[in-house]
């Protein structure tokens, strides 16, 4: 029913015309709006009117400009950082200790025997270039099968354009860059080294990698250093601990590594006191005599501090501890807490990174190093068909070795030096949002001292081997102290610089500052626009009607012109301000008020009483 009424009313309104003009509407708006400028436009004299008009325009444009800046600022999602520093009870970091040498030489000797003989012979040749027949007679013939896959060559670059390449075991000289190796593939590259030491080491690593990759994991773990041999003493704060508190993990570079406080099975340990007294004290034996001579030339323990449940990337973040010394490490936890998207480009748990994390098989959390290595290994399995020994394997892929994949070394080295592949990995991996780094202050002292040497070695040997003979020496023994510094954390945390609250209050501030406006003013303005649209609609309709009537008039020219007169009368009043027949003040009075106000109507009629024509028009109009 109501609806019908409403429609009827709307129809009447359409028939009657809008009832007021744009100008009236505008004046009414200016008079009644809550923004400060417009009121002055109509309230002041002509000069000031003009000034106020321009001022209002200027302020309005200022407001819009500044709003644009503010919204832009908001959408740039800036962050502010806050830094806090101090001491608090914190989880003690996970400590990974490894030997720099991956396997006991005594255990892997039988595997590397051929290789070692080969390299010894090669060194002999390098150091004494003149061929000696006597030595070869004495020893059993070398197995040159390994050699032919990746031979060592001497490159004589005295003649730059025409380097002479000399295979160490063959006297014939091959010139140029022809395929001198017997690897079976057509494309070969020479990796040249300026130093023989470097070349020999790299060559040895390649060969031994290939040999060891065939050995099953269990066997490799057995060949490495065992926890009870390596960790001689352990003390955490005042509590004793032993090798059983360490979690074993197999690391391709360093063999068996042992992680203290990894937090995989039990809760992570807390430390609530700074200083060496309350930290972790370890005594390690690296048994330097049992090192593989050609594989690792640096001797010591490799250790790393990292977060619980994260994989230790010793090559990147690890540090060395020297044999025969006491190394003290003061730790400061440097945390960076970032807000995720859209503030900064980081990932919370790596689930949105398009690289399959191969390190998840260790049950460790995502890290950028894990992502980069997984990315490399994925490329490697795609291109070379086998996985590199240093990284975990994807499902259904084997490690590369010279028998099954004869060209793998070439494939690997070209992949490794390929800039584009690296860039792809860098682009696809994201850093984690919560980044924790352990800043270390490292200091060293000789240990054990000369006076205490004897009894320390004696006790440690007794405890390890149950013998009264001293089985340890200075070259194998390392003491480590790891503890929190006086200030143990430095946290940089991000917070949004611009929130929606900030945006609204700034927008309001700007609008208020220039024009004294608020959201209601915007609604008022919107109302006026709707009103003026409404006027337009009604005007258009009445204009159309008028057109129709005109046509009808044209058809019947005699028709009484009453309707058109009415329309004219109506328009007459609308534009009354400018008409000479209408006294200014009176019309203004009408124009100023919203015509619907009944009091105003009365006033208007009264004013114009002196002029009967206008009066009738006015009464007619309302």
């Amino acid at each position: 029913m109501n609806l019908k009424k409403y429609f009827v009313r709307a129809l009447h309104r359409l028939q009657k015309g809008p009832g007021y003009t744009y100008k009236e509407l505008l004046v009414w708006y200016c008079d009644n709006t809550n923004t400060h400028g417009p009121k002055r436009i109509i309230k002041e004299g002509p000069k000031k009117k003009l000034i106020w008009f321009f001022l209002t325009l200027l302020f309005a444009s200022l407001v819009f400009w500044q709003w644009g800046i503010l919204i832009n600022t908001y959408l740039s999602y800036n962050v502010t950082s806050s830094l806090s520093i101090g001491f608090k009870t914190m989880k003690f970091p996970a400590v990974t200790v490894c030997n720099a040498n991956p396997f006991k030489y005594s255990e892997v000797k039988h595997l590397l025997k051929e290789l070692d003989r080969l390299i010894e012979a090669a060194l002999e040749r390098i150091l004494q270039p003149a061929p000696r027949n006597s030595s070869e007679n004495a020893s059993p013939p070398l197995d040159l099968r390994l050699w032919h896959q990746i031979p060592l060559v001497l490159i004589d670059e005295h003649d730059k354009d025409n380097p002479v390449i000399l295979d160490i075991f063959e006297s014939n000289q091959t010139a140029g860059a022809g395929p001198a190796s017997g690897s079976g593939s057509d494309n070969c590259t020479y990796r040249n080294f300026t130093s023989a030491a470097q070349a020999v080491t790299e060559w040895y690593i390649l060969q031994s990698t290939s040999i060891l990759s065939k050995v099953p994991l269990q066997e490799r773990i057995r060949m490495g250093y065992q926890a009870e041999d390596m960790i001689l003493a352990c003390l955490y704060g005042a509590e004793p601990c032993n090798y059983k508190n360490f979690t074993q993990i197999y690391h391709p570079d360093h063999g068996n590594c042992y992680i203290f406080n990894w937090g995989m099975d039990e809760e992570a340990l807390n430390s609530s006191n700074p200083g060496a007294e309350f930290g972790l004290k370890l005594i390690l034996d690296i048994s330097q005599q049992d090192y593989i001579p050609y594989l690792s030339s640096a001797a010591g323990a490799r250790l790393m501090l990292h977060q619980q449940k994260s994989f230790p990337f010793l090559k990147d973040q690890g540090i060395y501890a020297m044999a025969g010394t006491e190394t003290s490490i003061g730790v400061l936890v440097d945390e960076l807490e970032r807000m995720g998207y859209p503030y900064s480009d980081c990932t919370i748990n790596g689930s949105d990174v398009p690289v399959k994390n191969l390190y998840s098989q260790y049950n460790t959390s995502y890290s950028i190093q894990a992502c980069l290595r997984s990315c490399f290994q994925n490329h490697m399995t795609e291109i070379c068909g086998c996985g590199h020994y240093m990284f975990p394997l994807p499902e259904g892929v084997n490690y590369c070795n010279n028998e099954d994949n004869p060209g793998w070394a070439y494939c690997y080295s070209s992949l490794r030096s390929s800039i584009t592949h690296r860039q792809i990995c860098i682009d696809s991996c994201k850093e984690t949002c919560n980044d924790t780094q352990y800043k270390m202050t490292i200091s060293m002292a000789d240990w054990p001292s000369e006076a205490s040497e004897d009894w320390i070695f004696h006790i440690l040997s007794y405890e390890r081997d149950m013998s009264t003979n001293v089985t340890l020496d200075r070259n194998g023994i390392i003491k480590l102290n790891i503890y929190f510094q006086e200030y143990n954390y430095r946290t940089i945390s991000e917070s949004a610089a611009t929130t929606i609250v900030w945006l609204l209050s700034s927008l309001g501030g700007q609008f208020g500052f220039w024009m004294g406006g608020s959201v209601l003013c915007l609604i008022e303005f919107g109302e006026i626009i709707i009103d003026s649209l409404w006027i337009t609609v009604i005007n258009v309709i009445s204009w159309c009607k008028g057109l129709k009537q005109k046509r009808a008039q044209a058809r019947y020219p005699d028709a009484p012109p009453t309707v058109s007169e009415l329309v004219e009368a109506h328009t007459n009043l609308g534009g009354a301000g400018g008409r000479p027949g209408c006294p200014d003040g009176g019309c203004m009075a009408v124009a100023r008020g919203m015509p619907r106000h009944s009091t105003l109507c009365a006033a208007a009629v009264l004013h114009h009483g002196s002029d009967p024509r206008v009066g009738t028009q006015a009464t007619f109009d309302f």
Binding site: S81, A197, M322, E431, G508, F513, G516, G585
Partner: protein, 666 residues
């Protein structure tokens, strides 16, 4: 008297006589003179009723004295709060907030400068230093009874009495018998009185009663021998080294640069192997850089040929690995007492201040240095006092590298040195037109230098005040750890192969204490960028202002303009007008008193100009002029100008009046 509002004028223009019309139009087009309110209190009332700010209206509208008073108080306190808060906002405008961003990306590898700790090969320096060494040994013999073991004899002992330089006589080592003014001269062995101020290199000596073994030297002003400075040391080790260095610099200052470069280590001497990012490198990747105190240093990745190497993978195998040859046997025994190398990681544009911030590398060990890259940026003026390029600092940059505080301080000192001593100090580069100090040309320089250095340290030279921080700087945080190298089992083959690498230049087998292995690599490729940003922009400041104004009084810039308009322009013009009228009245009264009637007419006419009512009326005739005081009582002109009244009906009626008048006239 208030002129009628423009609307009144406009309304009147409708049906007036042509002459009146013209005057009316003139009035309309002429600038509006002053506010319409006749008195200040009315103006205030009008303002309070019509203003856009909130408190003021309450004052006028409220009834009762107490309430009005409270509202006045509240409004005033709101104004006070606004002023206070806005002042706070203004004061905090130039504050900066810090943002830390971490970006994972391909990083440029920094330049790595490597020096041998010993600057020049001792064997090749023999010609220059034999005198000095002899002198030093004699001092050791005299004071400590030390004589070199037979195995280490380098020079025959008999030559001691040969003619030494004058200079050694001038600055001899002295041994002080006690704290009094007697000392034993090293050369002559005779005791002599010491005068002059005493500088203690080691301040603890002042308190120690046992002064028997104080050793030191005396520096005197060559022009004025009574002015001397005495340097004493608690330990002979320090004293001999300082004394030796003093003379050493003297000698080195006279040797031309080319010769010095030849005397020092060549790249082939220093570098045994080099490996970067999985690829071999050699001396071509290193740039020589001559450091005055450390001899020839070699910079890896100096960017000199335009390309800067970068790393796209972290970890030790992708960084720089070098094996250095440190020829320990060829060390200068008095100048340096430690063995090894010194390295510094720096930006390609930075000057390596290796003597100040270098890291020392041990021999027979592998030193692994993990790097963390941090880039920082400060805001320059007016946020903080730093300099972008150093161009605004009145100290000439003597190093042809980008500005840093260190460079500025060194340059400043060098400049002061040239100004006051007439020659340049050996450890820093030469300013244009100056040359290095040596005792042949500048016998006085050492005294001068020590005096100046003392002043510099005590911040009396003003260098610390002139020099500013650089606004942006790069920093590589290093984590250094050491492992034994080569390991006992690999030592044998390693040394053999390295000796072979070294080639025919040395015909002896290398010793492991002659070698140092160095690894420099990025721990991770995270670039930490710490930057200061302005905490406030103008936009935010303005919106904060707006927020404050709006919160307390619902005010805006429009209100401020209103306030200026009403309280300054309008009030002033009202006051001025009143004063003018008073003055005129007084003048007229005086005239009337003096002259009687005739001047009245002219007076009236003049008043008529000001009086808008009169202008609207017919030109004053004599009669109307006589009746002039009457219109004042007439309510018509007295009615306040209608255009700013609030009530519409009122407006309508007053506007009506001219019309009706006119109608009546017609």
């Amino acid at each position: 008297m208030a002129p009628p509002g423009p609307e009144g004028g406009r309304a009147a223009a409708g049906a007036m006589a042509p002459g009146k019309k013209i005057t009316a139009r003139i009035k309309r087009t002429l600038p509006v003179k002053g506010p319409q309110a006749p008195t200040l209190s009315e103006l205030m009332r009008w303002y309070c009723l019509n203003t856009n700010t909130h408190g003021c209206r309450r004052i006028v509208v409220s009834r009762g004295r107490l309430r009005r008073f409270i509202w006045i108080l509240l409004t005033l306190s709101a104004v006070g709060l606004i002023l206070w808060q806005c002042a706070e906002l203004l004061m905090n405008y130039y504050s900066a907030s810090v943002s830390v961003t971490v970006q994972f990306q391909k990083l440029p590898f920094p330049a790595v400068t490597i020096c041998n700790i010993n600057p020049y090969k001792y064997s090749s320096m023999k010609d220059y230093l034999s005198e000095l060494d002899k002198e030093t040994k004699k001092a050791l013999e005299t004071f400590y009874g030390f004589s070199e073991g037979k195995s280490k004899v380098r020079r025959s002992v008999d030559e001691w009495n040969s003619t030494g330089s004058d200079f050694f006589k001038q600055i001899p080592l002295l041994k002080f018998e006690d704290f009094s003014k007697t000392a034993t001269d090293l050369r002559s062995g005779q005791k002599r009185k010491i005068e002059g101020s005493v500088f203690h290199k080691d301040s603890s000596i002042v308190n120690s009663g046992d002064s028997n073994d104080i050793i030191g030297f005396q520096l005197c002003d060559a022009n004025n021998s009574s002015e001397c400075a005495l340097y004493t040391f608690s330990s002979g080790v320090n004293a001999i080294q300082e004394w030796y260095k003093l003379h050493y610099m003297n000698i080195m200052a006279q040797i031309p640069l080319e010769t010095k470069e030849k005397l020092s280590y060549s790249a082939d001497d220093l570098l045994l192997t080099c490996f970067f990012d999985g690829l071999s490198c050699d001396k071509r990747h290193f740039t020589r850089f001559h450091h005055p105190l450390h001899g020839n240093c070699y910079t890896f990745n100096s960017g000199e040929n335009g390309t800067i190497l970068s790393t796209s993978t972290g970890g030790s195998e992708y960084g720089l690995q070098v094996v250095l040859y440190i020829d320990e046997a060829d060390y200068n025994p008095f100048l340096v007492t430690s063995t090894g190398a010194k390295i510094i990681v720096h930006d390609q544009n930075e000057y390596p201040f290796i003597e100040d911030i270098g890291t020392e590398i041990e021999t027979a060990a592998a030193t692994s240095i993990g790097m963390h890259f941090t880039r920082s940026r400060k805001l320059s003026k007016p946020y903080s006092d730093c300099t972008e390029t150093g161009a605004d600092i009145p100290v000439e940059n003597l190093y042809n590298k980008s500005y840093s505080l260190q460079i500025c301080l060194h340059s400043c000192f060098q400049k002061a040195m040239v100004d006051s001593c007439g020659c340049a100090q050996y450890a820093q580069p030469l300013p244009a037109g100056a040359e290095y100090c040596n005792y042949k040309k500048n016998p006085n320089w050492m005294y001068c230098y020590y005096r100046l250095h003392e002043k510099f340290v005590k911040e009396q030279l003003g260098c610390q005040q002139i020099c500013k921080d650089a606004c942006s700087f790069k920093e590589w945080a290093l984590t250094t750890s050491i492992a034994q190298w080569p390991s006992t089992v690999s030592e044998d083959w390693m040394l053999r192969v390295l000796s072979w690498d070294k080639g025919q230049k040395i015909n002896k087998k290398l010793n492991k204490t002659d070698l140092a292995n160095l690894m420099v690599f990025y721990k991770d490729l995270n670039e930490r960028f710490i930057s200061e940003n302005p905490a406030n922009t103008l936009v935010i400041l303005l919106s904060n202002f707006g927020g404050q104004l709006g919160l307390w009084m619902s005010c805006s810039v429009v209100c401020v303009i209103e306030i200026v308009e009403v309280f300054f322009i309008d009030s002033l013009s009202i006051v001025m007008r009143r004063q003018w009228q008073k003055a005129k009245k007084w003048w007229n009264d005086r005239k009337r008193d003096r002259l009687g009637k005739p001047p009245q007419a002219g007076d009236l006419e003049r008043q008529g100009h000001d009086n808008p009512v009169c202008i609207d009326e017919d030109l004053p005739t004599f009669n109307t002029a006589l009746r002039l005081p009457l219109p004042q009582d007439n309510p018509l002109p007295r009615t306040p100008p209608p255009n700013y009244s609030t009530l519409r009906l009122e407006t309508a009626f007053t506007e009506q009046l001219p019309d009706t008048l006119e109608v009546g006239q017609h």
